[in-house]
Subunit: 426 residues, 2 copies
């Protein structure tokens, strides 16, 4: 039997939930359980290809509608799969649903998200069949390891409803606590770049946090991401101080026009995963020349191949590439690592929430970092396998936790009933 005679016979989508810390952000605070979904594609020769993506109810609905589209295809039929999904899931139309990205992010085309999930699982199958790591299916790795950044969050010591024992990271609401968190994360993971999720406290407090980090880590590139929670004027006013401190200034203010105006007032390059999340926005940004660094994310840009194409587009339009993350487990981390390994101009350390998670759904447990980087896998496919017992356990947590749509605002109001949720707040 030829490799491309093998067919996908079953497609499963399993929502899971895992513990997540009380991390503060522009919208509010993380709930105690983060949702994801695991895609499994079975083949006629008994292989299992896997992917990990969003687990909110609208995404599950889209995936449930779409999974049958993969059945009957060869794992090599990525283009036909894309055509099928695009024909079935149209943005804002009857069969389609719009769903949420990270808080504050724009909704983007459902089709791109579904395509990404199916593509990663199909590439995993391709790699297994061909005995090649996925990065070799993307033109080969240009680096042996993919550097990630320390992703700092302001946070409370524990969740308001105390659903389980508090995490080991402790509270971080002051510059000193932030430096302590950074030190612990750098010590454990070896990260060489540091990102702070801001938009939580006043800009003055967050700039003080960045200054404290600069003092404690004089050579680590620093990034601040106020998650569009600063007005344009606030962002402009903060720019002179931040220009001296930041590698890039990520999504301080909402909207492409606001970012374009801000770009005239700061020397730090502007970065985004909020105002350029679709090709339409990419095109508009190209004409406005607002954002200079794109935080790519294969989960909503249509997969690993589309992310590689996006990287070529960034090169054409003079933009740098970094990588965005949501709360995720090891399957996503491996997909991100394969993509980043094969994209020459992805030269900024990638974001990852991985240190904030304790659980895993893959065999062998948590993925190791070396000097802040993940070694590019050389095993076939993604290079990780699903642990069926863990999948059952994390799915049970999903059933039990009761969360079906992430709501950081409602969660925040459990701590501060009067929390406005106004955006931009500063």
């Amino acid at each position: 039997m030829r490799n491309n005679d093998i067919r996908i016979t079953h497609a499963r989508v399993t929502p899971i939930a895992f513990r997540d810390g009380p991390l503060l952000n522009a919208s509010g605070i993380h709930e105690p359980w983060a949702l994801r979904s695991i895609i499994e594609l079975e083949t006629s020769d008994g292989r299992l290809g896997i992917a990990e993506t969003y687990g909110d109810a609208p995404m599950l609905l889209a995936l449930e509608q779409a999974r049958a589209l993969a059945v009957g295809l060869s794992p090599f039929d990525l283009n036909v799969m894309e055509q099928r999904v695009r024909a079935s899931i149209k943005p804002g139309q009857g069969g389609g649903v719009q769903f949420e990205l990270a808080p504050g992010s724009h909704t983007a085309k459902n089709a791109e998200k579904v395509i990404s999930a199916l593509e990663v699982a199909m590439l995993d199958l391709q790699g297994q069949l061909l005995k090649l790591p996925i990065c070799d299916l993307l033109g080969g790795a240009v680096r042996d390891a993919v550097p990630y950044s320390a992703y700092l969050f302001y946070k409370y010591a524990e969740h308001v409803d105390k659903p389980y024992a508090p995490d080991a990271w402790g509270e971080a609401v002051t510059p000193e606590q932030l430096v302590k968190q950074a030190q612990a994360m750098v010590d454990q993971y070896g990260f060489k770049s540091i990102k702070l999720k801001g938009g939580v406290f006043t800009p003055a407090e967050e700039i003080a946090g960045i200054k404290a980090l600069r003092k404690a880590f004089p050579t680590h590139p620093l990034r601040l991401d106020p998650n569009a929670n600063w007005s344009l004027q606030t962002s402009i006013d903060a720019a002179p101080e931040l220009d001296e401190l930041l590698e890039y200034y990520e999504d301080p203010t909402p909207g492409l026009e606001g970012m374009a105006e801000l770009a005239k007032h700061c020397r730090s390059p502007l970065a985004t995963n909020m105002v350029v999340t679709t090709m339409d926005e990419f095109r508009r940004n190209a004409s406005l020349n607002a954002v200079k660094i794109l935080l790519s994310d294969h989960h909503y840009w249509g997969g690993l191949r589309a992310t590689a194409s996006l990287a070529r587009m960034c090169e054409v339009f003079g933009m740098g590439m970094s990588m965005h993350s949501n709360s995720h487990l090891g399957i996503s981390l491996m997909a991100m690592t394969h993509a980043a390994a094969a994209i020459p101009n992805l030269t900024y350390a990638c974001d990852t929430h991985y240190p904030w998670q304790e659980e895993e759904v893959i065999k062998g447990g948590r993925i190791k970092f070396e000097q802040g980087a993940v070694r590019v896998p050389t095993a076939p496919g993604l290079g990780v396998e699903l642990d069926p017992a863990k999948l059952v356990e994390l799915h049970q947590q999903y059933l039990d936790c009761g969360i079906r749509n992430r709501n950081d605002l409602a969660q925040m109001r459990k701590y501060q009933p009067g929390f406005s949720g106004k955006s931009p707040r500063f």
Copy 2:
């Protein structure tokens, strides 16, 4: 041994020449011999990957400089190969050379052309190793066969210096002869679209040619390509008549600005392989909104993967995709077919000069067309193999013919000593 442990051990570049008809164009007339080069990459396990590209002296110089860059790589190291070539061959710099595309075309980056040649040969090796056709390495075919267009040329009955017996196509300098040529080509190949290479006679004569074709082929989409040999005003003046006749209006007038101005005066979409040949030009076109259909060509756009990325970019920027050709043999035809098979939005029938060639360098001789289309190969790799005896023969023709750089203008002056070569001429 794992597939990605196999290494490229030798890289050869062999210039060839084959008979080419006395085809008229904006620059002059085709010489009796067309030049190409054949790239051969040998692996440590004894395989041979092949590609076909330009054969002019500057391209041979670039390929000779670059071929060593492939040695030692795995056939899967496409991204590293690209990095190496880009680092070695910089446009307009010391080690680099600029060379000619089709007459009237812009020179583009040498690196993209060299990358393309090496990439096709490496993908051929990948496909052989994995027992998959190249289109499966590009996400899989979305069509079973790739439609090509009948590519008509004004031509003389034979070459001025009569180097060999005249071809069977005969003279075509009148509308009647053009229709006869079209009929013969459609009869033999089954083409469903017709393109006329214009820029040869006066616009009135060429419009008369198109009208005669429309009458003889009432349902075939028609295209006219004056090869930038019409002034802007001439192109504007011709637009109302051509609007009724053409599927697209290809490169009537030189320069992106000229095409942008023309776009305001015609209803036919403008197509190009002349004013958008590099990513810089792509970006400029996106802001000028001049050309609506891009004739892609993997030979100068950086290969098959880059062409697939370009197709995604065309979708983003609301452009359609067709495909350009130069005089070529079956290796290029197969590479074009794999790329086109895997690009969903390549919806226009592709150009090919193939009917104008009689010779071949592949085993099994000339590739067959069915109903104007080439069936997408299912054999591993490109799906065609080099015929070593034919390669020797066509290389000898290269050595013997004495042509080292295509010069359609000098050739034309053998027929018409006073031929101005002025461009635009009309």
